[in-house]
């Protein structure tokens, strides 16, 4: 499930271009990063509605603007070249032209007509794309923004996860967006435009994916220190695969043999004040639900990949991946950290 979206036209050429530019700008770009390539959250590469409809609308606007650009820039360039002062011009001033009502009328009316047409198209698109009620048969998801992670609740299924959204292909997902603290903005460029998560306010958005794969996005409204590390991943599955994933998420956490020590530390320290592990402790609400932690590919809202080594780093010193993160260092010794990491790494 970790492959990127299957269609990435132009990625290869893009990569070559990168290499050339990297060569030119060698001083800036580290050698390792030249090869790194994951899914690019480009709005030109939509895999869902409404992103596709927005792109089509956007390209229409771009077309209109491109025509205007060519006309006006052409007029400007021709004017500058043709009427630049030359050596033999002499002292006489050119003929003074004070204005022309006909011309003024023309270049007032023409833009007004363009604005009317664009305005009508825009109004139509807004009406078509902005939905405040859930369509019949849609998948309800409740998204809550926190500093600096995403709480994702599937109310129909009765479980909560974090930072990685799973959606079935071909079915409308209807998202309710709220915030626990400050304003965030939910943005997955390949799926939909962004919508803000605002405290005391319920916003909505909808997504209808039409392609299986993984896309990325992130918080798009400045929300404090770690705004940059409030990343999102979305996995789009076939319907059956999605149902299987959801059924797995509904289960309570199991404790594998050999992880009881870590579980005890987890359950008996402040960890449980913020984190829920269903079947162990369900009071924590300030941090992500960890019941099926290892079903997620990243840690700390995308700041690091999710494996035992990173878990140890993260629990021991959250500032390492994410300086300023709200999770405190728990002052455990390294053996305890390893035990907790072992336990968490068993939560599949």
């Amino acid at each position: 499930m970790r492959e990127g979206v299957t269609s990435h036209p132009g990625n290869e050429g893009h990569g070559r271009g990168r290499a050339v530019i990297a060569l030119l700008l060698g001083s800036w770009i580290g050698p390792a990063s030249v090869h790194a390539q994951g899914p690019v959250p480009s709005i030109l590469d939509p895999v869902a509605q409404p992103a596709q409809a927005v792109l089509d609308y956007g390209l229409l606007l771009v077309l209109v603007c491109a025509v205007i650009f060519v006309l006006v820039m052409g007029a400007l360039v021709v004017t500058v070249i043709r009427f630049r002062a030359r050596a033999g011009d002499g002292e006489r001033e050119p003929p003074q032209v004070y204005g022309s009502d006909q011309l003024e009328l023309a270049w007032t009316v023409a833009p007004v007509l363009v604005v009317i047409v664009l305005g009508l198209i825009t109004a139509g698109r807004i009406v078509a794309l902005q939905k405040s009620e859930a369509p019949a048969g849609s998948l309800a998801i409740r998204v809550t923004g926190h500093q600096w992670w995403w709480e994702l609740e599937y109310p129909e299924y009765g479980f909560t996860t974090a930072n990685e959204l799973h959606l079935p292909v071909g079915r409308v997902a209807f998202l309710e967006l709220e915030s626990q603290d400050v304003i965030h903005s939910f943005w997955l460029p390949q799926l939909s435009g962004k919508t803000d998560l605002i405290p005391n306010r319920r916003n909505t958005m909808w997504i209808e994916p039409h392609q299986v794969g993984m896309v990325v996005g992130q918080c798009a409204e400045y929300c404090g220190t770690q705004h940059a590390n409030m990343l999102l991943r979305v996995f789009i599955h076939e319907e059956a695969e999605f149902e299987r994933w959801a059924r797995d998420q509904q289960k309570e956490a199991r404790t594998l043999p050999g992880t009881e020590a870590g579980r005890a530390i987890f359950a008996n320290t402040a960890c449980v004040n913020c984190h829920t592990v269903r079947g162990v402790s369900e009071i924590g609400r300030f941090g992500p639900d960890l019941t099926h932690l290892m079903s997620r590919t990243t840690l700390a809202a995308g700041a690091a990949s999710n494996d035992r080594a990173n878990l140890i780093d993260w629990i021991g010193n959250p500032d390492h991946f994410k300086p300023g993160a709200r999770m405190p260092a728990m002052k455990l010794d390294s053996a305890q950290v390893a035990q907790v990491a072992d336990y968490l790494a068993s939560l599949e």
């Binding site: 800036w28 994951g38 001033e93 003024e104 825009t122 005391n200 400045y222 940059a228």
Partner: protein, 558 residues
């Protein structure tokens, strides 16, 4: 050249003075020209500071997952950069040129309220110093942070006490509040001067376009700045007195702050941009050797922009979840701004058409402005389409767009204005040779930095992130952007070199080095304290043209 110009108006007696008394003269001055220069100089100083902040941010973003800056340091930098550039660079430079030129252009001896004028300047300067004091003084009770890190827009509840501890945000509020009083007083002064201090013959219909546009700017300042002041007072009440205006935990509304902020913030864009139009409207005719095309339509378009400017604020808020009706309203009204703006662009090109375009530095900067502002306007149309805005808002596309407006539009015209009026202010010409270096470095750097930012935005890069993962495909573009920032810095350095070189050369610009037509060129350079000993007769919009071309004066055509 038919008539020779009167250059009387004896130069100020400049006896060798002790530096103390020179300083004393500048600190205690109420002369609009000295205050204008003080405004511009202070603005340029803050411009350098804000530019250094920008270069530091670009250095951090040049590489993916860079660790040059801490996240908090980066967040402070973009907060200070935005606040500085808007309030401590744009506003004072705009006010400075207005201060210097309005009385000279309308044939007045000074501003309407000279002492209020001085008060306004010092309020601005101390407001700016209060803001920067935060770097040293705002550790506060909690020791939480130094400079403000809530963004120049200070969205609640992030700027509230619960999420912004310590006093950094209070420095932001107070600094801007104080400098805001200065700007409001400046606006009152410019409005009153223009309406009541015009010399005989200078009817409203004959005002130079510069003065007309500054009149609209002053009106917008008076309309918009008190709104920000009011909202900041509310925030201050929230933070210090336990009020709940924007306290979401007690039912306060986070979106109300956004409405207030952008009701100020969008007119603010025009407060910064219309002066750019004003400089271009004076410079383009002179260097095309032609009268401005469609004077009345230029005035009408400016008034229309001023009017529409107050009705478009929520186009900054298409993603907050407004209803369909509001989204449609703000999208369409925003697109309408393109009409009067387009009229201006067409009139400038029509002015150049059929002229003899002299590619001196002021004109070169203005031509670049025209092209760049065209791009800014068109990306503005793209952003006004609400559905596309849902994708592009708060992305690097927006950063590209408004830097095309504020650098491509405003900064380029400010440089044009500097090259154009520097001889009037100092009696010295700025070197064209260094100017070319300045222009090309800045021009290429600007386009490297900001043209590429459109791409980052389309590739899904949000604003205000201090780091990004390598695999996003943004790094190349960011590296190009950062390289451009260095070139821009070098370009600006060339400008200061040109200024220094100019002061090492003799003052021989003369009263009218550009063979121009408005009243400020009828007095000596620099003008005497009382501006004019005698004024030419004002019978048209170009009194000096009438003087130089008695055979074909303007008033026969107006």
């Amino acid at each position: 050249m038919s008539a020779s110009l009167r250059t009387d108006g004896a130069r100020e007696i400049s006896s060798p003075e002790r530096s103390g008394s020179v300083l004393h003269a500048w600190v205690t001055t109420v002369d609009h020209k000295k205050l204008g220069i003080l405004y511009i100089a202070a603005g340029l100083l803050f411009f350098v500071i804000g530019g250094i902040e920008a270069i530091m941010m670009r250095a951090q973003l040049a590489q993916a997952a860079n660790t040059l800056l801490e996240p908090q340091e980066f967040n402070r930098l973009f907060t200070m950069h935005g606040t500085t550039m808007v309030f401590l660079v744009g506003m004072p430079i705009v006010t400075g040129f207005g201060n210097y030129l309005i009385p000279l252009m309308i044939g007045a001896r000074d501003m309407a309220f000279p002492r209020l004028n001085a008060w306004g300047f010092w309020m601005f300067l101390f407001g700016g110093l209060v803001l920067y004091m935060s770097y040293f003084a705002s550790m506060g009770l909690y020791g939480a942070g130094t400079a403000p890190d809530v963004g120049w827009f200070a969205y609640s509840p992030l700027a509230g006490k619960a999420f912004s501890r310590g006093n950094a945000t209070d420095y932001w509020i107070l600094g801007i509040l104080i400098s805001g009083f200065g700007s409001i007083s400046g606006a009152i002064n410019m409005l009153t001067t223009t309406l009541t201090m015009r010399c005989p013959g200078m009817t409203m219909n004959r005002l130079p376009l510069f003065v007309w546009m500054m009149l609209v700017v002053s009106f917008l300042m008076l309309l918009a700045l008190p709104v920000l002041t009011g909202a900041q007072v509310m925030l201050l009440f929230d933070r210090f007195l336990g009020a709940h205006f924007f306290d979401t935990q007690a039912g306060g509304d986070a979106v109300l702050w956004q409405h207030f902020f952008w009701f100020f913030g969008h007119p603010e864009v025009y407060i910064l941009m219309i002066p750019g139009f004003a400089y271009a409207s004076e410079i383009i005719p002179v260097f095309s050797r032609k009268v401005i095309f469609g004077y009345s339509f230029m005035v009408a378009a400016t008034l229309a922009i001023g009017l529409v400017a107050v009705g478009v604020w929520a186009h900054h808020m298409f993603t907050v979840g407004m209803g369909q009706g509001l989204n449609i309203w703000f999208a369409v009204i925003t697109m309408l701004v393109g009409v009067p703006t387009g009229i201006k662009l067409f009139n400038w090109i029509a002015t150049m058409y059929g002229g003899r375009i002299q590619l001196r530095m002021p004109m070169v900067f203005c031509i670049a402005f025209l092209g760049q502002f065209l791009i800014a306007g068109l990306t503005g149309i793209l952003l006004s389409g609400a559905p596309l805005n849902w994708q592009l808002s708060d992305s690097y596309f927006v950063v590209a767009h408004f830097h095309y407006v504020l650098i491509g539009g405003l900064v380029f015209t400010v440089f044009a204005a500097c090259y154009y009026w520097f001889p009037k202010m100092t009696g010295r010409m700025l070197s064209e040779k260094i100017g070319r270096w300045h222009f090309w470095l800045f021009f290429i750097g600007f386009h490297l930095t900001f043209t590429t930012m459109h791409v980052q935005g389309v590739l899904g890069m949000p604003r205000r992130i201090y780091t990004y993962p390598a695999e996003r495909g943004w790094e190349v573009w960011n590296a190009i952007s950062s390289t451009g920032a260095i070139l821009q810095g070098l370009g600006v350095a060339c400008f200061f070199v040109a200024v220094i070189v100019a002061f090492r050369r003799p003052a021989q610009a003369g009263p009218d080095p550009w063979n121009a037509w408005t009243l400020e060129w009828s007095t000596s350079s620099p003008p005497p304290a009382y501006n004019f000993l005698s004024l030419p007769e004002v019978r048209s919009r170009r009194p000096l043209w009438d003087l130089k071309h008695p055979d074909d004066p303007d008033w026969e055509h107006e």
